[in-house]
């Protein structure tokens, strides 16, 4: 009898063209997503006189450098990068969802939206948040520029097989507790490097109950625990999301795909290298206070005191983060005054995220400046059709054009030095949103509540 396999094993085995003695495999890559920041890789293959082997499996988007205000890109270097991806798309003949395209948006939003992302595929991109696509039961991970060049030229990648970690979440999430709160709680539990060298499979009833958008939020932040990838087994919700999308299989191909996809979930007896379990019903609205993702705490908690840390090194680390964040030891998270709010990113820039923020903001005024950026043009259009844009602008927030925006600040949307930002993005690192920026990560509903209160606040105060 064949040994029981994990979802990850099944996809890995189906894509290993050959495997060396040390376990390093040459993997076939089904989908390659590129963006305007992938220019180093295109320069590398141009330098070597190489072509894109499979332009039909290569998809481009402009996201990191596009402005959130309408009109052309003011910065000449950024504009040059966008012209560069346009020129490479024309030269190599791949589909680019660039400026002016009705499909344009963040690469991790447009992939699923256009049906480019499917269960059972290998998918890579020169961006660490490629783990997002694992929400469909794909093996998806971020790579650097040299590996992007390798995939462009060969449609393959050499990889040492990571270990498998299953994160099981039992119970049900409480009211106003979102996928963002759940993944922040997971990272706090396993640590910012807790999944290094591992592919995470998220399982259990609380995961199964999540929408596809929420599953993408969870898988997106796998990299913030150091995970090579994050995956969720495909099910009826996955198939329903995929069906009918532009690049997804149709008719008999779709029927054949469903048969193949139903065989993907991990076998009941499959063995994982590590297992972690969490109680989903115990997760509260969660906020980060420091500059690593493992500083996530329930909003009802206080920031730590370096003097009561387990050891001197931990105390020093806490003290340095408190100093950067401008926080005194033992400060209650609930009530920390904030300067600005950002709602968007590949983590929380999808329609459900905007609906969650709008639910809190409807009929209320924000007392802070804030920017709301849809993850793609289709998300923006859908939000506008539902009147969400008016909810945001009536509350006093700015409604921007789709892209990565203030998550990385590469397009000029930055948080000023010393400013404190409540952000639905994925990283709270030193200087992430601009030099000297102070980031508190939270869910869209929590960010909206913070915009209204002017300080970090528990969204559960805002009604049922």
């Amino acid at each position: 009898m064949a040994p029981p396999l994990t979802l990850f094993d099944k996809i890995w085995n189906a894509h290993a063209i050959l495997t060396g003695e040390d376990g390093t495999a040459l993997l076939w890559i089904d989908r390659h997503l590129v963006h305007e920041g992938s220019f180093h890789a295109f320069d590398m293959i141009a330098h070597d006189g190489r072509q894109v082997r499979r332009p039909d499996l290569t998809f481009g988007a402009a996201d990191h450098y596009v402005p959130s205000h309408p009109g052309p890109i003011a910065d000449s270097e950024a504009a040059g990068l966008v012209r560069g991806i346009e020129a490479n798309a024309a030269r190599h003949g791949f589909d680019l969802m660039g400026p002016g395209d009705a499909r344009q948006g963040i690469v991790h939003v447009v992939g699923p939206e256009q049906g480019i992302t499917l269960p059972g595929l290998t998918l890579v991109c020169g961006d660490s948040h490629t783990s997002t696509h694992g929400a469909f039961g794909a093996l998806a991970f971020g790579i650097g520029a040299s590996e992007v060049a390798h995939v462009l030229a060969t449609q393959t990648l050499w990889q040492r097989k990571p270990r498998a970690l299953r994160v099981r979440v039992d119970g049900a999430l409480g009211p106003h507790v979102a996928a963002k709160d759940l993944i922040l709680a997971v990272i706090a539990a396993i640590g910012a490097s807790g999944a290094v060298g591992h592919v995470i499979e998220y399982a259990g009833p609380a995961i199964r109950a999540l929408s596809m958008e929420a599953r993408m939020t969870v898988c997106n932040m796998s990299i913030e625990a150091g995970g090579r990838a994050g995956m969720i087994a495909p099910d009826e919700a996955t198939f329903a999301y995929v069906e009918g999308r532009s690049r997804a299989p149709k008719g008999a191909d779709f029927e054949a795909a469903i048969i193949a996809w139903r065989r993907l979930p991990s076998d009941a007896e499959a063995v994982f290298d590590r297992e972690v379990a969490l109680d989903g019903s115990a997760v509260a609205p969660t906020v980060t206070w420091g500059n690593t993702l493992d500083t996530a705490l329930p909003v009802t908690a206080r920031v730590p005191d370096p003097n009561t840390a387990a050891d001197a090194a931990t105390g020093a680390r806490i003290a340095a983060q408190l100093a950067y964040m401008g926080l005194a030891p033992n400060t209650a998270l609930d009530g920390i005054a904030v300067d600005r709010v950002f709602i968007g990113s590949c983590t929380n820039g999808r329609i459900e995220d905007l609906r969650a923020a709008a639910t809190v903001l409807r009929g209320r005024r924000a007392v802070l400046p804030g920017l709301v950026v849809a993850g793609s043009v289709p998300v923006k259009r859908e939000a506008e059709a539902e009147g969400l844009d008016r909810v945001f602008t009536d509350a006093g927030l700015r409604w921007g054009e789709p892209g990565c925006s203030m998550c990385t600040g590469m397009n000029g949307d930055t948080v000023a030095p010393g400013e404190r930002c409540a952000s639905t993005s994925n990283r709270n690192f030193v200087g992430r949103q601009g030099p000297g920026s102070r980031t508190h990560l939270m869910s869209p509903a929590m960010a909206a509540a913070t915009a209204v209160a002017g300080a970090i606040t528990d969204v559960r105060r805002f009604g049922p």
Partner: protein, 197 residues
């Protein structure tokens, strides 16, 4: 890429955990072309904020001893370009961000993961003025007048580093296997071909 075999050199110590690639090179410099002297961006904002920060834009010791989870976060290969352009050829730490470690190998920079106890011994030796000899073929690192410490590295990554190989060229030596897989896969998984709208 420059081959890596044996390196005897002084080391610089950055004893802090979770040094992310946003710190190693801030996002606003990633738009620069590869020829742009990435060393000037190395820890750009951290160096501004912390006088006496152990790494500089130039003249760094070729070996960096760092804290756990070094190079976590973003996949930006610019983090490796900045280190390499600033003279760093080898980084020793308890653990690394996976993408950073892969990027390093592609640029001739060796990453060595060692248990914290071994790292402490190396830091102690460097503190008394010892240089380190990193021997990739023998998979060991030894401080002057100290005991050798073994390390592990994937055979494939090791070969590429020692030979300074362009691994696209190496992969294309398997062109027949790739083409055979491609043809078989196309027949078996018609659904995996993107639909044309």
């Amino acid at each position: 890429m420059t081959p890596f075999t044996v390196l005897r050199a002084p080391a610089v110590i950055l004893d802090r955990a979770n040094v992310d690639t946003d710190q190693i090179i801030p996002a606003r410099f990633l738009r620069k072309p590869r020829g742009g002297g990435y060393n000037q961006f190395l820890f750009h904002d951290v160096r501004d904020a912390e006088p006496g920060f152990p790494l500089a834009a130039t003249d760094n010791p070729p070996i960096l001893i760092a804290g756990a989870n070094f190079g976590c976060g973003s996949s930006r290969e610019g983090a490796v370009y900045a280190l390499a352009d600033a003279g760093v050829r080898c980084v020793i730490a308890p653990s690394f961000g996976d993408i950073f470690a892969a990027n390093a190998a592609k640029n001739g920079v060796l990453t060595i993961a060692l248990p914290p106890g071994d790292i402490a011994a190396l830091i102690e030796a460097v503190g008394r003025g010892a240089e380190l000899t990193v021997d990739l073929p023998l998979e060991r690192v030894r401080p002057d007048n100290g005991a050798a410490i073994g390390f592990a590295i994937d055979a494939f990554r090791k070969t590429c580093l020692i030979d300074g190989l362009d691994d696209i060229g190496l992969t294309l030596a398997h062109a027949d296997a790739i083409a055979a897989f491609e043809a078989g896969d196309r027949a078996a998984r018609g659904w995996a071909v993107p639909d044309t709208p």
